[in-house]
Structure formats: C-alpha cells, structure tokens
Symmetry: C3
C-alpha cells in the first residue's frame, strides 16, 4: 500500500466497478462482485489486490503472482495462474493507471484560504479555491473555480488561471493566461521577461518584453522549469503538452498541442514546435526554427535547422536516427582502433 | 497593444518627442508634431503606431505596412510607402527598443512594505524601497534606494543590494554584495555554498565556503539560475553581464564585464571568463580554466582547455567553428554512407 | 578574514588545540602554545594565521609565505621558511578543511520559530528546531531535533526530517523521508510527481505517482535540483551522496551511497546507480539502466547502456575514456584537414 502519510486509499471496489471505471471486461469465470482493496505490482500483490501485465517479458512474474486480480490483454489471459480473476483490456497499463486513480484519488480543492496568504482585494477567486499558507495573489488576478494555489506560490497581477488548475509550492507566475486543469509543479517560473537586449555604444539596452505566456488546457509544467513571456507576440504552450523538470522555453516559442518535453530540454526564442513533437532529455533547439508535427528528437541532440513533420533525428550534429546509429558504431570503432 | 492587464501604456507622444528620446531624426516631409499612440510590428501597425524595419528581408512587409511612422535606416528610407512618416536611425532595432521603453515604462518602486513581509529590525532600507508580500529581509541587510523585493523572495543576513536593484519572486540571496540596477529573476539562487568537500576515511568532509558572491552594476541573473558563493576567494559577476535562465555558476568563478551566458550553461569552479565572452545555450566549461576576452563558444559545446581572446569554438570536443562545420559535414556523410 | 557580515570567526586557538582538532602533529621546534587567529591561503597569511600546502607546485608560494603556521605533509616540511610553525598531516587539504570548520563553525539551530511561519498544529517538532520567516510545515510532518527550516521553505504534510537536517530558503519537500544531517539547498524540489503518463485515444492519462523520496543520512541536495518521487517504488538517495545544483533525478531512480552528481546532470526514471558513482557535469543517463559501483562518467556524456563497476567512460556516444581521448584527437584532425 502507498504510504498513508502521503496518500489516501479509497475503496474497496468490486471487480465489476473497477472494470467499468477503467474500461476493461471481467473475464469469464471471474466474479464481478469480488472485492479488491488496493493496487500492487505483480510481485507484491496478494489475494485482495489488483495488478497488471503489459509485457510478455514478465510472463513468469505473472504466472508466479499471488494477485487476486490482474489487468491483461486477451492474448496473455490464457497463461494466468489458476484462481486469478482477470480483467481484459487492450491497454492493461493504461487501465491500471485509471485503477490507481480510482484507489488513490487526487485530493479535491477545499474552499480554504490560509490566514497567512496575501490575496489582493481586487483579485477574483472562483468557488472552492484553496489557497495555502504564504501564497500571494496579485491585483486583478482571476483564479478559476477549484484551483489550488500551493504554499508560498506567487500569482502576479492580472494573471488568469482556468478552472481546476493546480500551482505547486514556491512556483511563480506573471503575465500569463493559463488554461483549465493545468498542473504547474513546484518552483516553475512562468512569465518573466525573455532574454532580449540590444548592444549599443553606451552598453546593453534591454528590449521591453511586452508579450505574455498563454498556456492551453491540461498542460503540465515541471518543477523548476522556466517559460519566458513573449517579447511582443506571446509564448504559447498548446493543449495537453507535457513539460518535465528544469526545461527552458525562451520568449515567443510556440509549443504545439500534446508535445512532450523531457527534463533539461532547452528551446531558444521564437522557435515553433508543431503538435505531438517529442524532445528527449537535454536536447537543445536553436532559435527561430520550425519543427514539424510529430518530430522526435533524441536525448542531448542539437537542432540547428528546421525539421519536417515526422522526422526522427538524433546527435550532435543531428541526423536521422538510423544514420546516427551507424555513425555511433563507427565512432566507437575509431576510438578503439585509434585510426 | 500590449495586454493592459500586464502592461501600462504611456503617451501619446509626438514624432519629435520620440525622435529625441530614441536618438533618431525626423525625415524631411514628416510632421514632428504628429501624434503616435503605441508601438507595433510592421504587419499589425496602423496610422497611429510606430513600427521599425531593421532587415532588408522584410522590405515587402515595410512597403505593405499601414504604420503611421517607422524607424528605418537611411538606405531603406526611399522604399517607404507614401504617407508613412519616417524616423531615420543607424540602428532601427535599438531605437525601437528605446521607443518601447518610452511607451511602456517600467513600474517604479513604490515606497511600500507589505504587512506580511518579514524585515529584520536591523536591516537598513533606502528611500522608496518596495517590499512585496511574504518577502524576508535578514539581519543587517542593506537595501539601496528604490529597490524592489519581490513576493516571497529571501534576502539573507548582511546582504547588500545597490540602488534600483530588482529581486524577483521567490528568489533567494545570501552572502552577497550586489550592485546597482541589477535584475535578479524569479527563483534565482545566489550565495549558497559551493560544491566543495574532501573525502576522508570517515566519509566526506565539507570544505567551509567562506567567500561571497560579488555582482557588478547592471547585471541580469535569469530565472532559477544558481550562483554559488566562493570558497575563500569570491565568485564575481562583472558589470553588465547578462545571464539567462537555469545557468549554473560554480564557486570562485569570475565572469567578466558584459559577458552573455545563454540558458542552461554550466561553468565549473574557479574558471575565469574575460570580458564580453559569449557562451551559447547548454555549453559547459570545465573548472580552473581561463577564457579570453570576447571568446565565443557555440551551443552545447564542451570546453576543457583555456581559450585565447577572440576564440570562436564549438563542438564536443570543441574546435574552431570553421573546423567544426567541416567535421560536422563529414560526420553526417559517415552516417549516411555507413563507412 | 572572511567577511564578518556573513561569517562568525571563532578562536583564537593554540597550535596544539588545532593539531588535536584536525588530526595533525605539531612539528619539532614549533610552540604548541602559539596562538593562531584565523585561516588564510599562503599568499595572504600573516604571522597570526594558519595556511596549508597540498601540492608541490606551490612550493615557491610556500617558501615566500609569511604564514605563522602551515599544514604540510612530512615530505615538504623541510622546505619551510624559517620561523614558520608546522603542523604535519598526511592530508593537509583535508586537515585545513577541518581547521576552517574550527575557526568558522556553522551556526547552530536556535530554538526559534518566526511569527510568520505557518506550522500545522499536528506537526511534531523536535527540540531546538529553528523555523525561519514564512516557512510552512504541513500536517503530520515530523521535524527532528536541531533542524533548521529556511525562510519561505515548504515542508509538505507527513514529511519526516531526521535530526540536524537543514532546509534552504524557498526549497520545497513533499512525500519524502529525509535522513539526519542532510543539507537541502535553496530552491531544491523534492517529492513532486514524476513524469508519468499513458497516451489514450482521449488524450494523456497521468499515472498516479504513489511512491516517495527516501534520502539517507549526510546527503546534500543542490540549489534548484529536482528529485521526483517514485511511481510506486520509491526514489532513493543513498547515504552521503553529494548532489550539486540543477540536477534532475527522475522517479524510481536509486542513487547509491556516496555518489557524486555534478551540476546539471540528468538521470531518467528507474535507473539505478551503485555506490560511489561519479557523474560529471551535464552528463545524461537514460532510464532503466544499471550503473555499477564506482563508475565514473565524464562531463556532457550520454549513457544509454548499463555500465559495469569501475567503468570510466566519456562522450556521445560514451566509450572508455582512453578511447574517447583517441577519438577526440581524430575528430579534431578531421576538422582541420577537412577530410
């Protein structure tokens, strides 16, 4: 069981209830009324627990498991140990994720404002907004219903948060319009001025950054990630984008819907990512580029030119992944032979 | 117009006032008394707006623009559409940056201390210092006139901030002497102990870090950037250095005047950068090196040896940029041919 | 002398006291009763100061030094200038680190809770815990004796901190069990959910992250570093691990005892590091790997396969360090010759 100091266990639920909630079918022979008390990995599950199998490599663990119930695909169902109740799903891992939500539901926002929070009188808070200790909400900010604002987070003047959005501890947001159901992790920095200046004979002249950050619904922004506001145009994060920790997004960048940006990625100013682009960890993208839909960039790669849709590239310099694999083998050979 | 929730528009100004403020000349035929209400890019500007052209590539947009006034260089002036008033400047982009400051001036510090700020009685605050909600100022700190301390920022005991310095939300500063007109972005960490320890038979012995961080005038420190204090000598950031987000600066590092450090750069302990050095994004510099004045290091490059002044290098391993371009072409060829 | 605004000088101490404390021997001819007032590098030390020599390269500075006393190894003792009192140690640098602790002791936690701190009534604080301004401590948290909680730091519900642990300003910790004598630097983020989701036809389904972060004794976690909690298993940081700034540690990662992770390193989910592994700056480790004890990975390297114990690798792709050195020389040659 998850540590009760940190997680609240719901349930128990019957197999039938679980099947309905996660989109699976109770296999013939299993009792839909059977009670399940918790979710567990195959190796740790007992007779009251639900587990899952999503990879044939774990068939041995599946057959040895004492799990009372298990999510599997139809193909693997025949290999189940006797006595195990099966829930059949085409995507057992996805269904298990849903089961975890069922057993460990997210805490709902409580309509509560800690006495130490500093909320400007002109800010507008929707119903059931929770504001934790030390949080600061600036003048004219609009906080949607059921938002949760974490301890010591700072929401700047005029910022708009859609409904059900969560802001983590110590995060700060300014000059931004944020969608619904967005999750901003602790320490994220959103809306500060971008890195813009002109060099003159008298020294650096900063270019005023007059744009905003506009974040779509269902986005995640990782811990200590930084998203600068636009210089005139906006910096835009498309609906459903998943952004990991310590990512840098420069001013005027457009991140398309459903993009996945893994930790420590950096995107320079004014670059546009299409939809469903994947950037693996520590990849770097130069400024003013256009990256096509569904492009995939490998870890630590450096992108200095536009990429067409459906590209799959890797390396420094970046090249198609198959070519990178070949080059990589050759470089290793050169190192070994010294010629 | 910039979003009025976040930006306050000043003006209107006459062409003559603008020309004086930005260092441009009203072209013959233009009316110095013409009133301008806002700044806009060429494609969005109307008869009341000022725009700019700084690149011949945008000559078409220039000729099609409905902007009432435009900053251009003398060479392009002849191609202006009829009716457009011109302000002639050798550096139209720089002049436009100044015009943006004119129309959207930075908010001035208000002499205000939020009731929830915790200011040690022994701290000394200059005139017209603004302290936002939840900010903490430690014992003996000295805060110069017109500084603004952002919400939930933490200024440690004894820290000195020069006049007109701005500290962003949730930033923390300790063991540091900071100059005038410095801008420290949200979440920056300045003055924590460096990564110093000795390994003994009984385990790690930390080496006390007894130096400071000393930051010159007009420096910018980006969001979530970290600057460790010196171990005995100081960590020093020279006047006018521009440091982007998520940069790491180790103990005892010296960054010269006017250096530009792009996002996610890392500089290991005791390395010294000369003046006007440029490190592109994600570049890494080993410890105990000397990097000469005006050296330029390309993105994601790894520097493991001293660099003379005016070097231009790139790559892993780093080499002169022209050589890197050649190598890069060869590596791509090797990947394609598989030999 | 270290800046008295930031550091409190203890002492003076006699040579004999120092020798005992740092594990050195007073050399014949030196007066154990001689009083020493401070520590200094060789070039800055005067007759009242203790310095050290740990490298023959600095023999000239040693002979020219005016230091009243110096830590040296037996071999170099004979070269000391006349009048310098010697403390002989096999590890002069380590002994000097200890002397620095003697002259500049860490401030002890004061039993003090700032009025602006928000401590949940159900949190349990040990004796002599110090809680600075604006810090937040959640329901059911357990804070060990003599812990110091920095200004505006956030300790989430149920978090456990062992005795003598220090949490820096603006750091946040949730879902974590933290050992004794741990130092968490400003802005570190510990315990937020990992980057886990499944893609479904209806969009992304987040996978609940039901594990914790478990941190051993004597660990350091650098400024703005991020450590995600486990997805079901825990994320584990072994005893004595030293983690620098801006490091990313994904969910379910296990970092062994005594590992050293230099700034901006990234470790993807479910990777396991053995004990005493060293990852140099900006190195990236893919997920689900096993890295053997004492493996050393060079800066900016990319690890995509398991590494056996005692490996020493570097590069993109990573290879044994000797091979990387050879390859590196060849690549530079290719760049120069253009063939």
């Amino acid at each position: 069981m998850a540590d009760p100091r940190f997680f609240r266990l719901a349930g128990p639920f019957t197999l039938g209830e679980i099947a309905t909630q996660v989109g699976a079918e109770v296999a013939p022979g299993a009792d839909p009324g059977r009670s399940i008390s918790d979710v567990r990995p195959l190796g740790e599950a007992g007779p009251d627990h639900l587990s899952f199998l999503d990879n044939k490599r774990y068939a041995d663990a599946f057959q040895a498991s004492r799990a009372g119930a298990c999510l599997v695909d139809a193909e693997m169902a025949a290999q189940a140990p006797s006595g195990m109740a099966l829930l059949v799903s085409k995507k057992p891992r996805l269904a298990f994720a849903r089961a975890c939500h069922l057993f460990y539901p997210e805490a709902e926002a409580r309509s509560a404002r800690h006495a130490s929070a500093a909320i400007d009188p002109s800010a507008v808070l929707g119903e059931r907004v929770e504001v934790e200790a030390g949080a600061v909400i600036g003048a004219g900010a609009e906080i949607g219903a059921r938002c949760r604002i974490g301890a010591n987070a700072v929401i700047g003047a005029g910022v708009v948060l859609g409904e059900d959005t969560v802001v983590g501890a110590n995060a700060s947001i300014s000059h931004a319009l944020v969608g619904r159901r967005v999750v901003i992790y602790p320490g994220a920095r959103i809306g500060q001025p971008g890195f813009g200046f002109e060099v003159s004979a008298q020294g650096v002249v900063k270019v005023p950054q007059l744009g905003r950050v506009v974040i779509g619904d269902d986005v995640e922004v990782g811990a200590n990630t930084t998203i600068d506001r636009g210089s005139g145009p906006d910096t835009v994060i498309g609906r459903g984008a998943m952004i990991d920790n310590l990512v840098q997004i420069g001013h005027n960048v457009v991140v398309g819907d459903g993009c996945i940006l893994v930790a420590q990625v950096g995107i320079s100013g004014s670059t546009r990512l299409g939809n469903f682009v994947v950037l693996a960890g520590q990849a770097g993208i130069s400024g003013h580029l256009t990256i096509g839909d569904r492009a995939v960039v490998g870890p630590q790669s450096g992108i200095t030119k536009d990429l067409p849709a459906d590209s799959r590239v890797m390396g420094l310099p970046a090249m198609p992944m198959a070519e990178y694999a070949r080059l990589s083998a050759q470089l290793k050979r050169m190192g070994r032979k010294g010629k």
